[in-house]
């Protein structure tokens, strides 16, 4: 299930995370390969977001080992860690845009902090990133509170991509979008993955996303990865939750 592949960009080994007495992740193993879009599914409350937040270091773990770009994040020095952080981008579930900065300032923020480049290049890159996520340059001077839900997700994605990361974490990118908007977003992630050579770690509930955007799917249950593989593998699986998920009423509707 989890092979020791040399091109794994994220390598998670025996991760245990516990909140109080509830064990959320229990000896979990996972590899994400370079250049793939990994869809991460599981029942609500199974700990999908917890795993994402553990990998990026927002949730402390009880035991286990996490390597990103081959760097062990626990053993890394502050400088090494910053180096890793500069190479990943994160799209939070609610966007997490800075509410007192405009769209322009939100996207330019990481670039301005890490690179000493001219304001002109900052502006041009900002327009390019907005274009990549399908937004017009006119939204640049709006504040996050003046944007619609879908636009917030897009701007947040543009900010996650601002420094041209090699790895992006997307936490439920299509939740709260209309089906057409969600479809566009999946298409967008696919296109960006092709053009920028991204590796994408996508937590999702959206069956459409799994079918159209993902190369590989990992399923979380009881604090472990219960299955990982292509969409065909998932459909062939006999696991009761997977059977219900991929053969339920909604799944049949998606497959047509």
């Amino acid at each position: 299930m989890v092979g020791e592949t040399s091109d794994a960009i994220i390598r998670v080994r025996d991760i245990t995370v516990q909140f109080g007495k509830t064990r959320v992740l229990d000896g979990l193993n996972l590899d994400v390969k370079r250049g793939e879009i990994l869809g991460f599914v599981g029942p609500s409350g199974a700990g999908k977001s917890v795993l994402t937040r553990t990998i990026i270091g927002l949730v402390p773990k009880l035991s286990g080992r996490i390597e990103v770009f081959g760097v062990d994040l626990d053993a890394a020095s502050a400088a090494e860690r910053r180096g890793v952080e500069r190479r990943w981008g994160i799209l939070f579930q609610q966007g997490a845009l800075f509410s007192s900065l405009t769209v322009r300032q939100n996207i330019q923020f990481p670039v301005r902090e890490y690179l000493k480049v001219s304001q002109r290049l900052l502006d041009e890159i900002m327009v390019a990133k907005l274009g990549m996520v399908g937004l017009r340059p006119e939204v640049a001077d709006r504040y996050p509170s003046e944007l619609s839900g879908g636009m917030i997700k897009r701007v947040a994605l543009a900010r996650a991509l601002a420094l041209d990361p090699e790895l992006v974490f997307l936490d439920e990118p299509t939740s709260g979008l209309d089906p057409i908007g969600a479809g566009d977003f999946d298409e967008l992630v696919r296109t960006l993955q092709r053009t920028l050579g991204l590796t994408v770690f996508m937590v999702t509930h959206d069956l459409d996303s799994l079918y159209t955007a993902c190369d590989r799917i990992a399923v979380l249950g009881n604090g472990k990865i219960i299955a990982a593989g292509s969409i065909a593998d998932m459909q062939a699986s006999q696991h009761p939750w997977l059977r219900q998920y991929f053969h339920g009423k909604r799944a049949r509707a998606v497959m047509g």
Binding site: S99, P137, L163
Partner: protein, 394 residues
């Protein structure tokens, strides 16, 4: 500066990355000038790349034919692709379109993507002018009127909600009121008592120190009694409550407004004034007199203690003198002011809370202005009361 050393080897699969810095060389090649880009053209090297591209842009219009050779670029991202595109555009301006040669298939979609970027720089129109400054002053002055109207508006809404609750007592939220009483009254007691105690000590010590020169030590009791019961007790406590509970009210209501919780209440058929603001106002109006009373007692106790230990005024002499010096009027004057000040603080805090817009910055601004305006209006009210009580001879 930032040094991602040790990570270098992981940056790309290609070997080209290890060759180090990106370059842009000029080479003459059969009647044309080739600009050969090589190495990693990525965000990390953006400052260097920008300088190289700016230099190369000066070639625009000098030679007959210029093209950009990117075949030796080992890695390309949006920054690199855009800078190449920017170079291409400025070289094109001469009339003949500059070509990009040797583009690998991997990067062609990225280059196509940046080709669509419209490069008109967006200018932020944020200039400081004299008229602009005057306009700002005018708006601020007009804003004062708006503030007053807002306060009266909220006062009316709160009174209407009170009337509603009186007619239909089941709509009254007792649990919520008790909860807020605990927050603004019970939990405030230690800090209020401590601060007023210390202030009482200080007034007493200063009074004795200066009165002693005239041999009038004992008059410190008169000063302490009148000052604490009439003015300092209630004023100080009101200022503390404005800072402690007014700010909390604004922050609570403001973040509820930001998350559309108040809209949700309204759509469910509840009046936010009745559900959220009335219990808070009532808690505050009940709490401030209690706190003011406790504060006054603590200040008198502190003052008496210092008068005894520092000034040698025996406690019994202190109490006798206090009984002569103050009448019940002083005490009543102090306590009448308390609920009115509480209402002012509460109304200011709620108006500011509901005025919060979407951003965290706005929440901070309104919380600050809640405390500042609350304290300002408390002092104004105190002045109005002083005139009123003086004219009715209390």
């Amino acid at each position: 500066m930032r040094n991602p050393s040790g990570l270098r080897g992981y940056v790309g699969q290609g070997v080209g990355i290890l060759s180090g810095e990106p370059t842009l060389e000029r080479m003459a090649r059969d009647n044309a000038l080739a600009l050969c880009a090589a190495g990693p053209w990525t965000a990390r090297f953006a400052p260097v790349l920008e300088r190289m591209v700016a230099d190369a842009e000066k070639l625009s219009g000098t030679g007959p034919n210029i093209f950009i050779d990117v075949s030796r670029v080992s890695k390309l991202d949006t920054f690199g692709a855009w800078l190449i595109e920017r170079l291409r555009r400025s070289l094109t301006r001469g009339g003949v379109e500059a070509r990009i040669a040797g583009l690998s298939a991997n990067y062609s979609s990225l280059v196509d993507e940046v080709r669509r970027v419209k490069a008109e720089p967006i200018i932020e129109t944020d200039r400081v002018t004299i008229t602009g400054m005057l306009e700002q002053v005018g708006r601020s002055v007009a804003g004062i009127g708006g503030t007053l109207i807002g306060l009266v508006d909220m006062l009316g809404a709160v009174l209407a909600a009170t009337g509603h609750v009186v007619i239909r007592p089941r709509g009254f939220r007792l649990t919520s009121t008790i909860h807020h009483m605990e927050q603004v009254c019970w939990r405030a007691v230690p800090i209020v008592v401590l601060i007023t105690f210390l202030i009482g000590c200080i007034i007493s010590q200063q009074g004795i120190f200066h009165f002693r020169r005239f041999g009038a030590d004992i008059f410190v009791v008169d000063m302490l009694g009148v000052l604490v019961l009439r003015e300092i007790g209630v004023l100080l406590v009101a200022i503390m409550v404005a800072g402690r509970s007014g700010s909390a009210y604004t922050a609570e209501l403001g973040s509820m407004k930001m998350r559309e919780e108040i809209d949700a209440l309204r759509t469910m058929g509840f009046d936010p004034i009745e559900v959220l603001i009335l219990p808070r106002m009532l808690a505050l109006v009940l709490a401030l007199p209690i706190l003011a009373f406790l504060g006054a007692m603590a200040a008198l106790y502190g003052g008496g203690l210092v008068a005894w230990l520092y000034g040698g005024v025996e406690p019994e002499a202190f109490l006798l003198r206090l009984r002569d010096a103050i009448s019940i009027d002083h005490f009543v004057v102090g306590l009448i002011k308390a609920p009115v000040m509480a209402a002012v603080i509460g109304i200011v805090a709620c108006v500011e809370g509901l005025a919060v817009q979407g951003s965290a910055e706005s929440l901070g601004q309104h919380t600050t202005s809640s405390v500042v305006k609350g304290i300002f209006f408390v002092i104004v009210m105190d002045g109005v009361f002083a005139i009123f009580f003086a004219s009715i001879g209390m």
